[in-house]
Symmetry: C2
Subunit: 531 residues, 2 copies
């Protein structure tokens, strides 16, 4: 069963070692387990629905509670503290495109706002029902039943799925036919193809397979005024690319019901390796060089010094690890070191070539290769990390992440500024914030910056929320002032809405609004999100 107030399946736990707990206590002070409300208390807090009955729509309180939030830290604080500001008045479960259109008509008739819901994994507030002050009822449309593989076109390496398909089901359907999409966001276990498109998702292997922008080849959007088909073409110079308007539309134009994606034959081999650099400077230079090489690598992740330290601490104190640390010390890779994970997938020969080319570049930047051990560990745990949030919350520590992307020359200063804004962000109340960063998506001209921060949960949800807002605001303002995008991979939602104009400009915002008005004249689609 899926957790109603946290990440993932409630039978899965991610325990932390005593060393990690001691480490966190040293960083932040002792945590105090928060007094979360119970499920029955939460259900009791769901008000009466304002929507009339419909065979496709549930007004059940538990269902509405389960669809009232995503996975942002603000969502967690509200769910666990009993302070969710508004609940959807109903949850629709359409099973066909025709039923999606019927649901949209129902929403028009009842003047309801429509919140498209894929896997419920948004971390920026895409799914919140706004505030109870809104005169209009809110209808969440859960796409979970529209999830079939419609066509695998082997000749053209294309697959068409209904948009509600989740990551594992999508990969499973492709795998039996010998194909893969290769799109693995951290949320893969629950997130959906439609959600990836609507939020411009990036995955752990996007270096090799490309972001969802590259994989999404066409499909269908059901908008309030009509259906919008997006034909599949290899490339086109016939005017602006409408796919690129649907990508990142965050439910504002309509509901993505179907998507064709570019697939690849299953790789023969997947191979992940690790290396350590003496410091941030060499590590950043190495991933920049790797991004500019023509090597067919599938993933890179450079943990900056604090994150590297954290990973080595979490790994415990096995003899193998002691040996590794000793070896690194001998090589002059000590305090301030950075760990790089890198991997290739594909044909045996291609993978060998990619990895040996990568090792050459890593060596040129004074990196020390340490083999496949840490890579294998990462591969095993890569979708488990979100479960750690549950464990830490229960120990009294809140975890959040944020991200941006900047050109290479701005990377070091931006990392430092964002980390420092967070680290000192609760000085006013003498609370510490523990911050670390990695670079996981690299381009010829720049890199993403992905920062994790932890702070102590307060006695009252309102105070925890105040702390989070203060940190989030300071970090976001810093990102904007350093010329970074407000989101490289999480989207805009409600959390980043105030910062979008810095990127799109006045006129760009007006352009986007005019598109929304065309598809959705009544402003019923996910209002309050994105724009």
């Amino acid at each position: 069963m899926r957790r109603w107030n946290g990440w993932g399946d409630d039978s899965v736990h991610y325990p932390v070692t005593p060393e990690t707990m001691a480490f966190l206590e040293k960083k932040l002070g002792p945590g105090k387990p928060p007094k979360d409300i119970s499920l029955s208390e939460a259900v009791a807090g769901v008000p009466v629905s304002r929507l009339p009955e419909h065979p496709l729509i549930s007004t059940d309180a538990l269902e509405r509670l389960r669809h009232s939030a995503g996975q942002s830290l603000a969502d967690w604080i509200n769910l666990r503290g009993g302070t969710v500001p508004a609940f959807p008045d109903g949850v629709a479960f359409p099973a066909t495109e025709r039923e999606v259109r019927a649901v949209l008509r129902y929403a028009q008739d009842t003047e309801a706002r429509v919140i498209p819901y894929g896997g419920g994994t948004s971390v920026v507030g895409h799914l919140s029902a706004g505030s109870d002050n809104d005169r209009r009822p809110a209808l969440t449309v859960d796409m979970g039943r529209i999830n079939s593989l419609l066509e695998l076109d082997e000749a053209n390496h294309l697959a068409t799925f209904e948009a509600g398909v989740r990551g594992p089901a999508l990969e499973k359907a492709l795998r039996v036919m010998g194909f893969t999409l290769g799109h693995y966001p951290q949320s893969h276990e629950y997130s959906t193809l439609g959600g990836w498109v609507a939020t411009r998702s990036a995955g752990q292997f996007s270096l090799g397979y490309g972001r969802i922008e590259r994989l999404f080849a066409g499909g269908m959007v059901e908008t309030p005024v009509d259906s919008l088909p997006l034909p599949v073409l290899p490339a086109s110079a016939a005017g602006p690319d409408l796919r690129e308007i649907v990508l990142g539309s965050e439910g504002r134009l309509g509901i993505i019901t179907r998507a064709a994606v570019r697939v690849k034959p299953l790789p023969e081999v997947e191979s992940f390796h690790a290396a350590f650099f003496p410091g941030l400077e060499q590590g950043v230079a190495a991933v920049r060089d790797l991004a500019r090489s023509s090597l067919p690598l599938a993933m890179l992740r450079l943990s900056l010094p604090e994150e590297t330290d954290n990973i080595l601490t979490q790994a415990g104190n096995s003899p193998a690890l002691k040996l590794l640390k000793g070896w690194l010390n001998i090589q002059g890779v000590k305090e301030g070191r950075c760990m790089l994970l890198y991997g290739a997938v594909g044909g045996r020969k291609q993978v060998r070539r990619a990895l040996s080319g990568a090792r050459e570049i890593i060596g040129q930047r004074r990196g020390v290769s340490v083999g496949a051990g840490p890579g294998r560990k990462w591969q095993k745990q890569r979708f488990l990390v979100p479960y750690l949030r549950n464990t830490l919350w229960e120990a009294g520590y809140a975890v959040d992440t944020l991200e941006t992307a900047v050109t290479w020359s701005r990377v070091p200063a931006t990392v430092q500024a964002v980390e420092s804004a967070l680290r000192n962000g609760l000085r006013d109340i003498d609370e510490k914030v523990y911050v670390f960063t990695h670079l996981s998506h690299v381009y010829t001209h720049g890199s993403s910056i992905y920062t994790t921060y932890l702070f102590r949960v307060a006695d009252h949800p309102a105070e925890t929320m105040r702390r989070w807002k203060q940190l989030k605001t300071r970090a976001s303002e810093t990102i904007v002032s350093y010329g970074g995008t407000i989101s490289h991979q999480h989207g805009v939602g409600v959390d980043h809405r105030a910062y979008l104009e810095a990127e799109k400009d006045d006129l760009g915002m007006e352009m986007l609004r005019s598109i929304c008005r065309t598809m959705d004249p009544a402003g019923m689609m996910n209002p309050g999100k994105l724009l």
Copy 2:
């Protein structure tokens, strides 16, 4: 001096061999040199300007004649026959963004339509001034003076140019700093960076460097309502990508004045090779396999049988060529053969690896490698081919090209249908049409199809135009009925406007119109083009 009624510099001629002429006569019947009007006759046909004076604007008749058309066959027929339907009332030569804004204000004050003009190389009617029935005067804005390199950001592999810079000047400015953009459309000698962005241009090396969509990193558009800055970000998940709306906007939203592009260090080596396949089937399978490999190739061009035959005929009858043909015959590569040119650019090791990997795939598809000779020849002549149009026109033969892209499985049938629509397109008047095709842009899921067709120029320009329109209409309808894009690399302009809705759908067209209305409420920007 640039030709006023044909392609390129008037001191450059592309002679054809007697063999080629005999070949064409056999295919189409003898050509009759058309009675083109003279430059002074053409200038005399330019009416009085309807625009008031302005220091940045010329109303000189010759200047207006020179800006009245692009390089489409319809443009040629009109220029050479004296049937240009309308001339711009003035040509503006702004030298700065401020002057572009001044010109736009002038156009607003005088209710003029604005036609942005880059290198004048459009082949789909982007530059025509419409018809003289239009109540509003037409003002063409020549961007040729806005052409400087503004910044080369070596650390981030980014260069920012003013948008009027032409291909050779852009590459020269980069080369002295050790960089290249690697964007080489056939029009490279004259076409501009702004024009590439406005029309979603593809280049001969787009397999390696990417289409202009990938290279264009940000910039500035001056619209009638305001300036629209597009910031440079490595990637962003913050809503729809506005760059992708400017790409392909064909002057409808405003004038692109500045563009940042992703550049690469100059390659150590450029190496082009050739191979022959027994037939179309093996050739298409080989380029499909190459497109799906991870080999860092920079270009591919598969000439289908008729084009291969044409190339071998044009190459004359040297002993080396006789030897080549003999060798191919021995290998069983005879009638119906296809020639592949392929190349790699980059580091020595990388190029060697790419080429040897390619040869392996070529061998698997029964291709016979014939070394670097034809590749070197192509490299030398690759920007000269458009000059051939002048020579052939003067011999009485009209040349036009058209293109589309479809998924792989549709390639053979689409080629056959388009070629047959053209080949039989003038049956009603017993005229022959000579048609041949190549595939030059390949993707994992499909390929472009680029078709050249020749027919005899008639005694009267109106009849030549009628022939062209009949052929163009039949080919375009065929493309649409086979699910192809109406343009893979030429754009929409006026020539493809009727076919755009098949690709964008009703609602997509409405979406694009709403964007135009936002940026250009008075509908002054390039009306009649694109939408």
